[in-house]
């Protein structure tokens, strides 16, 4: 640590450049992780809010709630601690000023997937809905009447709830009758038993239903099968993991060049009896200091940037994830320093003193 700190102190510009590069890499990693989390939340936050174990869909729906069609009476074939039925349809909703894609959930308000209202009231009458508070950013407010693209029904926002987006669309929660009217129009009465799925909380999923046409899908599996969700996560995570590799290579190159420049000095020190382990520990300590400062500055810069980002940018920073990524960056930087350590170990002190 002594050598490491003194070298950094003497060569401030050189090491500031290395810290700067590490800072930019960590900034990019933190920002991408925030983007990944934000986009994940766009897809899944309404489902996470259920705190459910599984969802029952028809076997032929291929894990897609939209494609699944059940009857309310199918509930009788489900053996679970808690059960909630759900109908779902996508639509474009407009209040006259703005239009947006929405996902309409038809639910029973006395079942466990009923969200808490953060503003306004619970739906009571026909065509009343609770909306995701994400719609407030688009100018929607309590009392707004929503005209739907695929239906003649007009919905009325009576309240808002938080964390309510499904597959990137804000959710409108209404009762099943409202859902049926939106989905089936004049045929609503004839289809009043129709739902898309049954959400359950259960300890054991294997014997949850004996109906072969139904399939119980764990919530995490259900989310992974949302259109585009896995592909989007894989892409962003691939970029993050790639950046880990890049940062290791950058640190390795920088430190290797610095080490090569100091081969003669290290050789003299080895000739004087200073051990490989002391010199190696010094390089590792130096890398740790540089990486820790770079990551810390990148972290702070990310938080500052996040504070100024428009709300339309889907970023959500999870401190635990950022902490883990920060630690991984420091670890890969230290791995990058291993090349320098190997170089130091291989230095022949005899050559260094011109023997």
């Amino acid at each position: 640590m002594f050598l490491a700190l003194n070298e950094i102190k003497k060569n401030k510009l050189r090491f500031t450049l290395i810290i700067g590069v590490l800072m930019l890499v960590s900034y990019l990693v933190f920002f991408l992780s925030g983007l990944a989390t934000g986009l994940e939340n766009l897809n899944r936050e309404s489902v996470d809010k259920w705190k459910a174990t599984a969802i029952i869909l028809t076997e032929e729906s291929d894990k897609s709630m939209y494609q699944s069609s059940l009857a309310i009476e199918d509930v009788n074939e489900i053996d679970a601690e808690e059960i909630a039925v759900i109908g779902q349809i996508n639509a474009v909703a407009g209040n006259g000023d703005s239009k947006t894609n929405v996902s309409i959930f038809g639910i029973n308000k006395d079942e466990f997937i009923m969200p808490k209202v953060t503003e306004g009231e619970v739906f009571v009458d026909d065509n009343e809905v609770i909306a995701s508070d994400a719609l407030k950013e688009d100018g929607f407010k309590v009392g707004d009447e929503l005209h739907l693209s695929s239906s003649g029904e007009v919905l009325k926002i009576v309240g808002f709830t938080d964390n309510a987006r499904f597959n990137a669309a804000p959710v409108l929660y209404g009762d099943l009758a409202t859902f049926h009217r939106v989905k089936f129009g004049e045929a609503a009465e004839a289809n009043k038993e129709s739902i898309n799925g049954i959400v359950v909380r259960a300890d054991e999923l294997t014997a949850i239903t004996k109906n072969d046409s139904l399939e119980s899908i764990e919530i995490e599996t259900f989310i992974r099968n949302l259109p585009g969700y896995t592909e989007q996560n894989l892409t962003l995570n691939f970029m993050i993991y790639f950046l880990f590799g890049i940062s290791a290579v950058i640190v390795a190159i920088f430190l290797y060049v610095l080490t090569v420049q100091k081969i003669s000095m290290f050789g003299v020190m080895k000739a004087q009896g200073i051990s490989n382990s002391y010199l190696s520990r010094s390089v590792i300590a130096q890398t740790f200091i540089l990486a820790a400062i770079g990551v810390a500055v990148g972290f702070v810069l990310t938080l500052i940037t996040a504070a100024f980002l428009p709300s339309a940018v889907p970023v959500a920073f999870d401190l635990v994830t950022m902490l883990i990524y920060g630690l991984v960056l420091i670890v890969v930087a230290i791995l990058g320093a291993v090349f320098s350590v190997l170089t130091i170990v291989r230095i022949d002190p005899l050559k260094a003193i011109g023997g």
Binding site: F2, L3, N6, E7, K9, K10, N11, S264, M265, V268, M269, K270, A271, Q272, G273, I274, S275, Y278, P349, L350, I353, G354, G355
Partner: protein, 223 residues
């Protein structure tokens, strides 16, 4: 008793018809308080001698004994420890660490050597070598003579029994060279160490107790 002994030491490089005898069979010994010069032209085998004595090069045959320890019986880690504890090196271009101040050059040794000097001993070392005012300076800010004095201070740190100096005056003008040799002579006597100076500059031999000449790998005592 001899601090350093070479018994029938020989060093060859290569093999067969390409074999080069860099140092022919050599016997040598040095006692405490002796300042010894090894002189000879370039390529005569002086550096081979120095690196063998310093435990950096393993002889082809024979024994190098430092304070009763035969270097041939030690592994690289143990030889490294001997270099750290028993030998002080002074090299041609001083080879100070560029990013450490003079004080930190010595503080580094304080960290890696276990038998540290007391504050009083350290102050004496600064005073003896006249480098007390240079403590906060970096090597780049020092003159050639000052750098070499700091290098001597490093070599003398925690009183090693042997000082090995490889052309310590090569980069200095005559006045500075004599100054450095005077310093080495004084420290050798005051601290009762054994100092071996390898040089091709015969003007310096006057400072030495013994002078050996190396010619084509053969070491012969001249004084």
């Amino acid at each position: 008793m001899a601090v350093l002994e070479l018994k029938q030491v020989k060093k060859t490089f290569g093999s067969g018809h390409k074999e080069i005898e860099a140092m022919k069979v050599t016997d040598f010994s040095a006692d405490r308080g002796e300042l010894i010069a090894i002189i000879g032209p370039s390529g005569s085998g002086k550096s081979t001698f120095l690196t063998i004595v310093g435990g950096l090069l393993t002889p082809t045959s024979g024994a190098v004994i430092i304070n009763d320890k035969n270097l041939a019986d030690l592994n690289e880690k143990e030889r490294s420890k001997i270099r750290l504890k028993e030998i002080g090196f002074i090299l041609q271009a001083s080879n100070l660490i560029p990013f450490l101040t003079v004080a930190n050059q010595l503080k580094l040794l304080d960290q890696v050597k276990k038998d540290n000097m007391t504050k009083k001993q350290l102050e004496e070392l600064y005073e003896d070598l006249g480098i007390g005012d240079l403590r906060t300076k970096y090597p780049a800010d020092l003159s050639g003579g000052e750098r070499q004095r700091v290098a001597i201070a490093k070599a003398l740190y925690s009183n090693p029994s042997i000082i090995l100096a490889d052309e310590p005056t090569a980069s200095l003008d005559s006045d500075r060279a004599y100054e450095v040799m005077e310093l080495l002579k004084n420290e050798t006597k005051n601290k009762n160490t054994t100092t071996i100076v390898v040089t091709h500059d015969i003007r310096l031999v006057g400072y030495c107790d013994k002078v050996y000449k190396m010619t084509d790998g053969v070491l012969v005592q001249e004084k």
